[in-house]
């Protein structure tokens, strides 16, 4: 159990629609092991987004148990969830969700700011993260001047800033062309090789193929949980076509 970053036990989530409870999740159990890169797949309405929100501490389960790093977080207050989210979860969204008025560097600093890091430590850490995604030279650029792939890489750097135990990516390639999207997936592979635990929510099998395990969700239940070899070996920085060379658009 010590190697489980996420452990879900019979998690259920109800939404109230016209007095009738609607069960978006109806008893989901699975675990995410440390250092694992997995995909959460399902059609829209399957409950995969709800599941991601609960794993990401944006929402609480109606019942069932959720252990994050061995700690029961099923019934935390909003404040405790905010603090824990800041420290242990890094989000990457489909629409990037960068703060438009802040520079790339300041965007990466934001989670550190909320974590109470002093200014200099914050700046150093944020620069280090931008370097890691190959965007150190764009530190002062505002999001509007960056390409889609660059924005998503800034978002990845931001997700990594507090060194979270879990990286949650919600359709991270959904707003990108295939080529750029593949670049982002290769970046995730590289990060996973360095030890990051990554959960990718997607409805595309091609994206799920980059991971080594896919959990299929349908109608609020786990339909299948299969391990598989990743589609292609991660082309790390040393591979000729690195993830930082992709698109120019």
């Amino acid at each position: 159990m010590s190697d489980a970053v996420v452990l879900l036990e019979a998690v259920r989530k109800a939404y109230r629609l016209a007095d009738e409870p609607f069960w978006a999740l109806n008893g989901v159990s699975f675990r995410v092991r440390r250092g694992e890169m997995m995909a959460l797949m399902g059609p829209s309405g399957s409950g995969k987004t709800t599941l991601m929100h609960i794993i990401g501490l944006l929402d609480s389960p109606t019942d069932g148990r959720y252990l994050l790093n061995g700690e029961d977080v099923s019934h935390l207050s909003e404040l405790d969830r905010a603090v824990l989210r800041n420290e242990t979860i890094g989000f990457v969204f489909q629409a990037f969700h960068l703060l438009p008025r802040l520079s790339a560097l300041e965007n990466v600093e934001t989670p550190l700011t909320y974590g109470g890091y002093p200014r200099r430590a914050r700046r150093r850490k944020a620069l280090e993260m931008l370097e890691r995604v190959g965007l150190a030279d764009k530190a002062t650029s505002v999001p509007a001047t960056l390409s889609g792939g660059q924005r998503q890489r800034v978002a990845v750097a931001r997700a990594l800033a507090t060194e979270p135990t879990l990286l949650l990516a919600d359709e991270p390639t959904g707003n990108l062309d295939t080529h750029t999207g593949n670049g982002i997936m290769r970046l995730f592979r590289a990060l996973n090789d360095e030890g990051a635990t990554i959960l990718v929510v997607t409805h595309e099998a091609e994206i799920a193929a980059y991971t080594s395990r896919t959990v299929h969700v349908r109608d609020g239940l786990v339909e299948a949980d299969e391990a598989h070899p990743p589609r292609s070996p991660a082309s790390g920085p040393e591979g000729g076509q690195g993830w930082w060379h992709e698109e120019r658009s």
């Binding site: 242990t88 934001t110 109470g116």
Partner: protein
């Protein structure tokens, strides 16, 4: 993750400063979002600017009126008791309808008290008469009084000198003429030593009064001052009893604190002399300048408060403007709030961000408003011909009120932002 895999989460969290967001960072975040929409922020602030400016300017004008009224009254002499004929208002009789009940004998009796609390006594009797010098003629208010008049009524002499006690005892025909009279009769020439004709008598001009300005209800510049004895013996219509009547007697107290006691003693003296025992029968009235000032000040004070309150309402409207914009802003930035929460912003961080934004807008408006208010007060004071007296208190109050308006009207929108559901707000388009 570099340090991720080997350290358990609890341990990692423990050595980190689990502190909150640095308050200075909230200021930076709020300031950036104000700056990001300059026009809107400026328009939002404008409501508070106008409100604060109105409060500061109107109270300044009100205080200016107050100060100028006080100054005019005290310029007529300070610590004054005014004895007039008539009596306190009662029944249907209108207060102040003059009756010639105060006489020269009354004034002499007051002087005979030799009361150390009395600094000076200036009885007054007056009449509008034609004056002539050569071919120039004019009308003037001829006023008979004692030399004490100079001190009691705070009157300087611009040229020459005031008449003396001896002039009065001997009923000499000497006159001190007002500025306007001197202008009318002598033009550019010196008036001193000239002989003028008042009524049917010749008077020697011994002094000229400076330009005292027209106070509206009476013009001290068209006065001619002559010794009281000269007036009652040569210019006065005789009173029935032979004791000449006066229009008023001004008694100047040595100290403001003794004025009330002196007022009571003089009332007793005059009541005895006039043979009245019941205050309702009194045929005279003694008014205390301090009371008059207090009454006037309370009137102008009320006026100032009234103006300030109206201006305060506009400040309130400015506050509602801030609330309105903040509500729009919270809705507009729902997604930003969602993102910030996803990155670990606590509800109180979001609350602080929006509350501070509203407070910065209103405090900024307050600062600009104080500047505008001081300027406006000057302009208004100039237009109304009153000095503008900006009170530090009104600046402080307006400023604090503006800050409170920001906090009060900013709280609800900020709370709404803080309570937004992160899931819902991330989904918001």
């Amino acid at each position: 993750m570099k340090s991720g895999p080997d350290l358990p989460a609890g341990a990692r969290r423990a050595h980190r400063r689990r502190g909150s967001l640095d308050p200075l960072e909230i200021v930076v975040i709020s300031w950036r979002s104000i700056r990001s929409n300059v026009l809107r922020s400026a328009l939002t602030t404008l409501g508070v600017v106008i409100g604060v400016a109105a409060v500061v300017a109107l109270t300044a004008a009100g205080n200016g009126v107050n100060a100028s009224v006080t100054e005019r009254i005290t310029s007529l002499g300070s610590n004054l008791l005014t004895v007039t004929g008539g009596g306190p208002a009662r029944g249907t009789r209108v207060r102040g309808a003059p009756r010639d009940t105060i006489t020269l004998g009354d004034a002499q009796a007051i002087r005979a008290l030799n009361d150390p609390r009395i600094a000076g006594i200036a009885p007054q009797v007056q009449s509008n008469l034609a004056v002539k010098f050569g071919t120039s003629a004019s009308y003037a208010t001829v006023l008979g009084t004692w030399p004490d008049f100079q001190a009691v009524r705070n009157t300087e002499v611009a040229a020459g000198s005031f008449f003396t006690g001896a002039d009065d005892t001997d009923a000499r025909r000497v006159a001190v003429v007002g500025y306007q009279v001197a202008q009318d009769l002598f033009g550019g020439q010196s008036a001193l030593g000239q002989r003028i004709r008042i009524g049917n008598l010749d008077f020697d001009v011994v002094g000229v009064l400076p330009d005292k300005g027209d106070s509206g209800f009476f013009n001290p510049n068209s006065q001619i001052l002559v010794p009281l004895n000269t007036f009652v013996r040569r210019l006065h219509r005789n009173s029935p009893t032979g004791d000449p009547t006066l229009s008023s007697v001004y008694v100047q107290g040595a100290r403001a604190s003794e004025l009330t006691g002196l007022q009571q003693d003089l009332t007793t003296l005059l009541a005895n002399r006039h043979g009245k025992t019941d205050p309702s029968e009194y045929d005279f009235e003694i008014r205390n300048q301090a009371d008059q000032l207090a009454t006037l000040n309370s009137v102008t004070g009320t006026l100032t408060l009234f103006l300030g309150s109206i201006a305060g309402i506009s400040l309130l409207v400015g506050g509602i403007g801030i609330m309105n914009i903040m509500l729009v802003s919270v809705t507009e930035r729902t997604r930003e709030i969602g993102v910030r929460k996803a990155l670990g912003a606590k509800p109180r961080d979001i609350l602080a961000q929006f509350l501070l934004e509203a407070t910065m807008l209103s405090v900024g408006g307050g600062v600009l408003g104080i500047g505008a208010g001081v300027g406006l007060g000057r302009i208004a004071g100039h237009a109304l011909q009153v000095p503008s007296r900006v009170m530090p208190q009104s600046i402080l109050i307006a400023f604090l009120f503006a800050a409170c308006v920001g906090i009060f009207f900013g709280f609800y929108p900020a709370q709404r932002a803080a309570r937004l559901d992160p899931v819902e707000s991330l989904r918001y388009e």
